[in-house]
Each structure stands twice: as C-alpha cells, then as structure tokens.
C-alpha cells in the first residue's frame, strides 16, 4: 500500500507523516510525494523519521523532478510521474538560449528554463541548471543539471567535461575521475535512464 503525502496547501508533510505511518502496517513504505519539492536535507529528515518508527522506504513516486533528483542523489529508488515532460516529445522549439559570459565561481548557481551556453569555466563548487541543454565553452568542474524540469533529451556538453556531478532530468551521476584526452569535447546524455559520457556529437543542438 502507498502512503500519500498531503496536498501542500492543506498540511505540511512533516506534520502529516507520523500520523500516516501510525495507520499503516509495518510493511516497507511506498511513498507518493505528490507535488512536494523535497531537497536532500528534507529527505534525510524524512528517512530519520521513518527510521525512528522502524519503517523502511521501498520506493518513491513524485510529480516534482527536483524531488526525484534529490532522492536519487541519496541512492533512493525514485520515479517521476505525471505530465511533467514539457520538452520531451515533439517540441523543436527551445525555450530560448541564455548566454553567460564569464566563469561561474564556487557558490554561484546559474539557473535558466531554456538552454544555456557558458562562455567560461564552471569551477568546483559552482552549479548550473537548465531546463534544456547545458553547454560549456570552457571547463566544467562543478555541478551541471540539464533538463531540470524533466526533459530526458537534454545534453551536457563541455570542452573539458570533468564535473563533480552530472544530472540529466532525474538521473544523477558522478563525474569521471580520469582526465579526458586533450582536445576531446565530450557530452553527457541519457541512454535508457542512465547518464553516458561520449565524444560530443557535431549535429546541431535540438
């Protein structure tokens, strides 16, 4: 049986969860998070709550891509559901291209809904998230999230692709540890739900 977190407008999940857990049997929990946006520290609190009630989490369903990403980052089995793939099928129109000139430094977080082109480096400790593609004309050494609203066709391309972490849609991967060949531009894309890194395709972006 599945537990449903309450509607955001009616009650906070933190208040509702203990009650929900009490009603249930001791079986592993299947959790439907609805629209809630839960970050990693929310998940940690939630897991701790489950733990103190002696319950296990089997899997997670959510309509919010960010929730799925943070759950996946913690190694939980999370699934995105619903009509949340705005750019997935048939839309050739990008939401526009944002060009950012200059290096993103530690602590910076650049966000946009369409594609983003960074003319500079993304340093360790910096983040970039885009609804569409992330392109870095420079070195990517921080965290990049492409398709952050759920698009599974988004790509991450960088002249030097050695990020701390990569995210595409709801998938999460750690960056490769070996150094890339000099002069080899690489890309990351989703292949059957998993992030793969390969030499960049030369075809035009979407």
């Amino acid at each position: 049986m599945t537990l449903h977190l309450p509607n955001q407008r009616s009650q906070h999940w933190k208040d509702a969860l203990p009650g929900l857990l009490n009603q249930e049997s001791s079986a592993p929990v299947e959790l439907d998070c609805g629209e809630w946006s839960l970050n990693c520290s929310d998940w940690q609190q939630l897991l701790q709550l489950l733990n103190t009630m002696g319950r296990q989490l089997r899997w997670i369903r959510s309509r919010n891509p960010l929730t799925v990403v943070s759950a996946a980052a913690l190694g939980l089995d999370a699934h995105l559901e619903g009509n949340c793939e705005p750019t997935a099928a048939g839309s050739d129109e990008p939401d526009g291209l944002l060009i950012h000139q200059g290096t993103l430094r530690s602590g910076d977080h650049l966000q946009c809904d369409g594609d983003v082109l960074i003319y500079g480096d993304v340093n360790p400790g910096a983040r970039v998230s885009a609804g569409g593609d992330v392109m870095v004309w420079g070195r990517l050494r921080g965290i990049a999230h492409a398709g952050c609203h759920g698009s599974t066709t988004a790509r991450i391309v960088a002249l030097h692709l050695r990020p701390v972490q990569l995210r595409i849609s709801t998938a999460v991967a750690r960056g490769p540890e070996d150094q890339p060949l000099d002069g080899l531009t690489e890309q990351a894309r989703l292949d059957q739900g998993a992030i793969v890194i390969e030499p960049a395709e030369t075809r035009r972006f979407r």
């Binding site: 200059g102 290096t103 430094r105 602590g107 910076d108 480096d121 360790p124 400790g125």
Partner: protein, 270 residues
C-alpha cells in the same frame, strides 16, 4: 580622486596568512618610502597589532575617530622602527556591531587623504565582516594556500569581489612547499591558478621564520634577514609597485645540485 591605493587583503578561509601578509607587505612598502597604513578590519579577532609589535600602544580605534571623540592622528599608531608605517584598528573586539560599509568608507576616505597605501586586513568568511571590510576597497589581494578547501573559498571570494567592481584582484599563494608540490602531494601552482584565473603576484614558501617573527612581533621584512619568506614578501611589495621581478618556480627548486651544475656548464661559466 586620490591616487591612494586601497587594497583589501582577503582569503575566504581563515588561517591562510592574511594578517601575516598585511604586516609584512605594510613594512616592505613603508621601507620603500611609501607612506602606508594598515587597517585592521578583523577586529573581532584582532591580531595585526600583535604581529607588528604594537599591541601595547593602541589607545583609540577608528570608532572613536568617527564618533569624533579623538582625532585621526591620535588613533594612528606609528611603527617604532618604520615611521612610514601606521596601524589603525577598525574597532575593538567587544564592539562587534558598529562597523557598517558607510563607516568603513568614511574612515578610509580620511586615510586616503594622507597615505599612499591603505592595506585592509580582512576577516575570514564572506559574511558581514567581509562585506564591510570590502566596502571601501579599490583593489584586492586574495591569499590562498595550495589546499583544496582554501582554493575553493578563495574562488568564492573572488566571485564576490568581481560583483563589487574591485579591480585588479591579484593572487598570493602562501605556505608553498616545493617538495610536496613536486611529489604531487599538494596542489601545484598551475592547479591553483588554473581554477582561480588571477594574475599571480607572488609565492611565499612555508617558512618557520614566519612563526618565529610572529611570536616576536617583528615582521620578517623589518630585519635584513634573508629567509625565503622575507624575500617573497619584499618581492610582492616590489611587484605591487610595478617592478618586474620574476616569479620563483617551485618545480625548479627541487632539482638537485647536479642539475644546477649542468645549467651552469651550459652557460659556459666554467
């Protein structure tokens, strides 16, 4: 507009050598004839006065000057051996609240009327203390050590300095250990400049004389001693004033005597 160079000495991470650099650079600049004041903006953990051996001579701070309960001349502490150098504490440790960006600008404006160089010793972190200290700066020196965490924090600070229009921002790499660098146990100079992408103003080696001088309250650049760090700080002062002084390359430091001999043979001295 004044021609005074008002330079923020900052790092993000604590304990990487901001205060040591401020004291040594202050002395070196003063020795070269430039009238210099060091402003201790890290007054919560005030120790620039200790390093300069001036602790027992502080009576007033910038706070009293701004409150007009004393004149600037009364608050400035002249250095004993180096009359071109003065120290001004921004506040005292019990007064953590008073300093605002406006206060900082007001006090620096007063200092710029009579000094060639204003060096501001910045507190660690990126919160209010840092922002206040940076409020009146025109340029900055970012101090870091070749450690991942220090470089990460320096990078954050550089991002903030860039948004405040402070320029130029230059880099000092402190506590360099050539041995550890060449055995790759420590980030290399290139690793650091690669990420921070700033002009490198100087390298300072790890040098126990720094600690000895700190405890004595006599910055290394004060004596004629020739320790590696003393030379490094003098060179930084020189470069800051536009002199062309080549940088040491720690990668070459470790080549033993034999390599040096070979080099000499090639230059046909023998």
């Amino acid at each position: 507009m004044s021609t005074t160079r008002t330079i923020l000495i900052c790092s993000g991470k604590g304990g990487v050598g901001k205060t040591t650099t401020t004291a040594n650079l202050g002395i070196a600049l003063a020795r070269s004839g430039a009238s210099t004041v060091v402003l201790d903006a890290d007054f919560g953990l005030r120790n620039l006065d200790l390093l300069l051996g001036l602790e027992n001579r502080i009576v007033y701070t910038a706070q009293e000057v701004l409150a007009e309960s004393c004149r600037l001349e009364q608050a400035l502490v002249k250095h004993k051996q180096e009359p071109n150098l003065a120290l001004l504490p921004a506040g005292n440790p019990r007064m953590l609240e008073w300093l605002t960006p406006k206060d900082m600008q007001a006090i620096v404006a007063l200092l710029e009327e009579q000094f060639d160089y204003v060096l501001i010793d910045c507190p660690a972190g990126i919160e209010d203390g840092f922002k206040n200290a940076a409020a009146a700066a025109r340029e900055a020196l970012v101090i870091t050590t070749p450690e991942v965490a220090a470089v990460r924090d320096a990078d954050r600070v550089i991002g903030l300095l860039n948004t405040q229009g402070i320029s130029p921002v230059q880099l000092v790499l402190n506590r360099v250990r050539p041995k550890m660098m060449s055995s790759q146990e420590m980030l290399s100079v290139d690793d650091v400049t690669d990420i921070l992408a700033l002009p490198l103003l100087g390298l300072v080696f790890e040098d126990e004389q720094v600690i000895v001088s700190t405890n004595r309250g006599e910055p290394l650049t004060l004596s004629d001693g020739n320790s590696p760090a003393a030379r490094a700080y003098s060179n930084i002062a020189g470069r800051l004033q536009g002199e062309e002084i080549p940088l040491l390359d720690p990668a070459k430091m470790r080549r033993g005597l034999r390599a040096k001999m070979r080099e000499l043979m090639q230059t046909k001295i023998f």
